[in-house]
Amino acid sequence: MYAFEYHRPTSIGQAATLATEVEDVKFLAGGHTLLPTMKMRLAAPASLIDLSQIAELHGIERSAESITIGAMTKHAEVVNSSEIRESIPALAEMAELIGDPHVRHRGTIGGSVANNDPSADYPAACLALNATIITNKREIAADDFFQGIFTTALEEGEIITRVSFPIPSRAAYAKFRHPASRYALVGVFVAERGNDVRLAVTGAGADGVFRVPEMEQSLSRHFAPDALEGIIIPPEGMNGDIHADAAYRAHLVGIMARRAVQAAASRG
């Protein structure tokens, strides 16, 4: 890892100012993507701004309509939050499938969403649950936020402060884990809210996380696995690599979608 300057602000305002004053900065959250990347010298920022001491970025809040999670909230805190378990159990279950216990003690929702890794789990949850990504500057709908592999709507120096999730009537996540990396080979998050059904896929798309409108329409008429019969996901536009080719991933999308719908439907 190349040398860098280290800053540890205690407010969002300080962090935002630092980001404009200091050359070539990166924010440091849990460091579980950024530090490995810096070790491989794929990233070499001149300065790191550690967000961990900013109290405003922590905490989980529940209102009648939504759950709002501070950007620095760790995966393990989401897993263990009784508020989330009660209102959006699928989100806690998804967080429990991230990496391993040690990773979940460090990795954060803000880091995961900002990074938009094509195999990460949170982007699928955000998209399916119709989350709003709140930054120090504005509010961005998940539909506009994720813009392709490792690409988001975030501008230079913009800080995610919290992510807000409308509470669905039922939802579930089905993940086919890569057995070694534990990232999603394919993961499908489905959420129903009133008559609105949203279904998002991670791990499979060559452009990162995506929704499947055909499945959503069919599920909004009839929320059951058999509503997905006959819907074929073509391999075009799917990611293929040594772990799984595009046709295999396309097939898995159908399987994981059925499993997610089954799990959500059984929530009654």
């Binding site: 040398a3 300057e5 460091g31 579980h32 530090l35 490995p36 550690d50 393990a76 990773v103 460090r106």
Partner: protein, 164 residues
């Protein structure tokens, strides 16, 4: 250089470090606590697991400066007064190790598991919870047995557990 102050195995330490110093490097090279190992250095293997404010973390993926003002426990901090921690004793008793390279991380992960999940751990839970710890020797079988037995021993000896 940045100054860090933290408590390691009950002792306060203060040092000036290059910000890119990893916590594992700080423990091994500055403090000479070489029980914590570096296996992969890519966040995969868990040989470097220590407790940071009571939670298991991969010390190769934490900067020393991120541990400022924190409490760290390493494998060296488990045994009290020359007597092995019940989890260490269980690994010895059940042949939970061969070369021993992964063992400090396995034991720190196992103690963390008991702290979070309690002492009645079934095989499936233990295997799932050890996903972040790789062993090249044992085939895991005896590690799983050792963790189950160590978890039981930890409740039977609550005084020892409190010492952690």
């Amino acid at each position: 250089m940045t100054t860090v102050s933290l408590t390691v195995n009950g002792q306060s330490v203060t040092a000036d470090v290059d910000p890119r110093t990893l916590l594992v490097q700080f423990l091994r090279e500055n403090l000479r606590l070489t029980g914590t190992h570096v296996g992969c250095d890519t966040s995969q293997c868990g040989a470097c697991v220590v407790h940071l404010n009571g939670q298991a973390v991969k010390a190769c993926t934490v900067l020393a400066v991120q541990a400022d003002a924190s409490v760290v426990t390493t494998i060296e901090g488990l045994a009290q007064g020359g007597e092995l921690h019940p989890m260490q004793a269980a690994f010895r008793e059940h042949h939970g190790l061969q070369c021993g390279y992964c063992t400090p991380g396995m034991i720190m992960a196992a103690v963390d598991m008991v702290n979070r999940k309690g002492s009645n751990l079934d095989e499936q839970t233990i295997r799932a919870e050890l996903e972040g710890n790789l062993c090249r020797c044992t085939g895991y079988h005896n590690i799983v047995k050792a963790v189950a037995a160590g978890a039981q021993a930890m409740v039977q000896n609550p005084v020892r557990q409190a010492a952690e």
